[in-house]
Amino acid sequence: MDRGKVSVAAPYLPAPVAAPSSELLLDRLGAYWLALGVSDPDQVAALSEQALRRLPDLPETPGIDPVARVIVAAGDLLDDWLARALELPKPSPTLAAARAALLSGAAPDWPAALFAPPGEASILRDALRTAIAEPAPIPSPGAMPAQRIDLFSLLGPLLRLWRPETRA
């Protein structure tokens, strides 16, 4: 093999960092919280700290590097809060819809509510419940049996004569 011809183009995503520094973790978390709509540095710091604290409890996922794990932890933190606020079980298929509703701008001041005492989040809760997407109505199952179509065949009448059970 001519090794000179091997492509050495840079990968699309940078290689994972095996042992990331805490600065790197906080940097990535900060960027992620900002993308979620948390802009207050104090809130970002507090949320990042909570996310980092969750790391040891997160189940190991193959293929997830340490930095990606803190992003998963941040999502898990948010889902926990949503589950509590909306009284949803966790895991629940509605949680992703709730997260989407939260991030869609239906509750612009949600980061403040995140830090508010539990009883003070009711307005936010109502806004979220209204904004949660409902892609389909509840099922009303019905049956649609495949109809029989007897295609024309020149051999059909002969076969019916030959096999009396098919005459009906």
């Binding site: 960027a31 990606a68 999502g75 649609m144």
Partner: protein, 690 residues
């Protein structure tokens, strides 16, 4: 409104008997003339073939002609006591509330912006009627393209938010598009059909007025024996010259043809697949489509499901009607000749499949006729081609025969008999059958001032009909060759290799035109040279066909021109009522497309890839995740496959993945979340903007 008919069965039978008798008599007269020409020296094999082909083709033209003529009669007199929209029953007072009706829009990799702009226009038009709360909207996506899929989800959510449509406007994407469109609708019926008495099926480019939708439900309520009511969709909204000519023809001639179809088909009409309302329960009970035995093209999934569903409903004793006089039903058509042919290619296979169904047991006679008409829509082209070739060959043999003036001992010469009069009569009858409906449609404009003005006045409408006729003469041979090619390819089980249809306006370039029509032009040149050399008399008769083929490339290019389309509109040519005075629902559509200001910020910018956005943008990611159906975790093999794709994405980027691979990645919830975390952990360029 007229009173209910006393004895509709008798009346229906009379109408049908009159129609078929007229078709039969006209065909027999034309055949008689042909036979009188051929039989002087006894019928040769070639003449027998010609007669057979002519009989099939002429009866096909006759059916179309008498349908148009009956439609002309109905519109002219304004009398059609059995039109479904005019029948009332004493007990059927207008109900205060309507039963719940689902409006279904099955889509497949369509332009999402246009799809949702159309749905919003229909929604607004329904709101204008005050009956919005009686209808639910379903976007039934079979989309496979991952970028379009994510775009659809965002557009759906935007529409729900903008119109406060939670619990009324629904969206789902099928994990597998089993049995294509019919499977898509079946999936709806099985899951949610029980909630609704009626469903109105649209196409991706359908537009319907709110009041038309409400009236459709009311008609169904008045007629509990009706399972399906089809409205005639009028072609609209395209601006290329080709599309404007077709829109004009569809609008002016179409209403006459649909009135004629209803005149003799009545409650045994057909289903055209969209812009129709169906009673859900009979559809569930009787329209589950089986797979046909054998291989494609004649076996497998039933492709043109609409005809079959109508036939199955008729077989079960339900009525199927065409509400030809219900206005406010629209569709968009292909913008160029090539796109038109591509659509034909898709429809051709499904229609040819009906060959087997036409002779199946249990279907009603008219359902069999519908199947046969579907088959003939495409089979007519190869038959015409055969007829032309056979005529040319016969003409050549005729020129090779030396006339014999003296037979036996006769000393008085026997002069060859001229059949020019008979042949000219046959030709004139055929041409009359083809072109008279256009004149009849034009004549109808004299009756209604409002309509005449809507078509640009009598002079402009007449000029438009003349130009449309010239255009249809030029394009008919091209379509004949296209359809012949499709039929042959399907019969030989060969893929013709057309890419997917482009619905939006665009023009045909020289390269595309030359590649598509090059062979047709060559055929025209060679056939012209051969006929001129060997059968000069035939050549001159053959010129309209030859001209269409030789000019295929420039005609295809010029007719796709948007500038010429606009210019013809400025000159008042090919105007339609929908262009002259657009109904509110079409104005809403235009407004939605022009002033698109989405509620969702994420839709205000167009990213390079919605697929990447679904991985990177926390909102898009969460929304997409929330819309994924619940499914079993992937097995070991599947997990390894997805793992491989993740590595490929990490190393080579999204452009290295096929659309199907991208879809696989974002269809698995676990992989979707993992990739989201992966992107944010590695911080690639542009991650925050998606």
């Amino acid at each position: 409104m007229t009173q209910p008919a006393q004895s509709p069965i008798m009346g229906h039978t009379l109408r049908r008997a009159a129609f078929f008798l007229l078709v039969l008599l006209t065909t027999l007269v034309a055949m008689g003339l042909m036979v009188s020409v051929f039989q002087t020296n006894g019928l040769s094999l070639m003449e027998l073939i010609l007669l057979l082909l002519y009989a099939i083709l002429f009866s096909w033209i006759c059916m179309s002609f008498w349908t148009a003529f009956m439609g002309f009669f109905v519109i002219l007199t304004g009398r059609d006591r059995w039109a479904i929209s005019r029948q009332t029953y004493p007990s059927s007072a207008p109900a205060a509330s309507l039963p719940r009706t689902a409006i279904l829009m099955p889509i497949y990799n369509e332009d999402s912006e246009r799809v949702f702009a159309g749905l919003r226009a229909i929604h607004r038009s329904l709101a204008d009627t005050g009956r919005l709360s009686d209808f639910d909207f379903f976007v039934l996506s079979d989309t496979r393209d991952p970028d379009v899929w994510v775009e659809e989800e965002l557009r759906w959510q935007d529409m729900v938010r903008a119109l406060d449509g939670k619990g009324r406007i629904f969206y789902r994407n099928r994990p597998e598009n089993i049995s294509r469109k019919s499977g898509n609708l079946e999936d709806f019926c099985i899951r949610w059909g029980g909630h609704y008495r009626y469903m109105i099926v649209l196409d991706a480019d359908s537009i319907m007025k709110g009041e038309t939708l409400v009236e459709m439900v009311r008609i169904m309520e008045r007629h509990p024996q009706v399972a399906l009511l089809q409205t005639p969709p009028v072609p609209i909204n395209r601006i290329s010259l080709f599309a404007r000519i077709l829109q004009f023809a569809g609008s002016l001639y179409g209403r006459m043809f649909t009135a004629g179809l209803n005149y003799w088909q009545l409650g045994e009409s057909n289903y055209w697949g969209h812009n129709a309302i169906l009673r859900v329960q009979p559809f569930l009970d009787h329209c589950g489509l089986p797979k046909l035995p054998g291989r494609e093209p004649f076996g497998g999934d039933i492709l043109s499901h609409d005809f079959v569903e109508a036939a199955l409903l008729r077989r079960a004793g339900w009525e199927v009607w065409l509400a030809y006089d219900l206005e406010g039903s629209y569709e968009e058509i292909p913008p160029t000749l090539i796109d038109y042919a591509k659509r034909d290619r898709r429809w051709c296979q499904g229609n040819l499949q009906h060959l087997r169904l036409a002779l199946s047991q249990g279907f009603n006679a008219l359902s069999r006729l519908h199947f046969s008409m579907g088959v003939m829509s495409y089979l007519a082209s190869p038959l015409w081609l055969l007829f032309l070739i056979a005529t040319g060959v016969e003409a050549y043999f005729q020129t090779q025969q030396e006339p014999v003036y003296f037979f036996g001992q006769n000393w008085i010469p026997v002069w060859p008999v001229s059949f020019a009069v008979e042949m000219t009569t046959v030709l004139l009858v055929t041409l009359t059958m083809l072109f008279l409906p256009k004149i009849l449609a034009l004549t109808l404009l004299l009756k209604e001032n409002r309509l005449r003005r809507a078509y640009g006045g009598m002079l402009n409408a007449t000029l438009s009909v003349v130009l449309e006729t010239v255009f249809s003469v030029l394009t008919a041979p091209v379509l004949m060759l296209f359809q012949t090619k499709f039929v042959l390819a399907i019969l030989m089980r060969r893929a013709v290799g057309w890419p997917s249809q482009q619905r939006g306006d665009h023009e045909t370039g020289f390269r595309e035109a030359a590649l598509t029509h090059g062979m047709q032009t060559l055929i025209g040149v060679v056939a012209g040279a051969l006929s001129y050399q060997y059968v000069p008399a035939f050549f001159w008769w053959f010129i309209p066909v030859l001209l269409g083929l030789v000019l295929a490339i420039p005609v295809s290019m010029l007719s796709s021109s948007i500038a010429l389309g606009r210019m013809s509109r400025e000159w008042g040519l090919f105007l339609t009522p929908e262009e002259t005075d657009p109904p509110a629902v079409l104005r809403y559509l235009e407004e939605n497309l022009e002033e698109d200001e989405p509620v969702l910020p994420v839709l205000r910018a167009a990213p390079s890839s919605r697929f990447v956005q679904a991985l990177t943008d926390p909102y898009v990611n969460a929304l997409h995740l929330s819309l994924l159906p619940e499914r079993e975790p992937p097995g070991k093999r599947r997990r390894h496959y997805l793992e491989g794709l993740i590595h490929q994405l990490e190393e080579e980027g999204p452009d290295s993945l096929s659309a199907a691979q991208k879809r696989d990645l974002i269809a698995d919830p676990e992989t979707l979340l993992r990739l989201h975390a992966l992107f944010w952990s590695r911080s690639p360029a542009g991650v925050s903007s998606g």
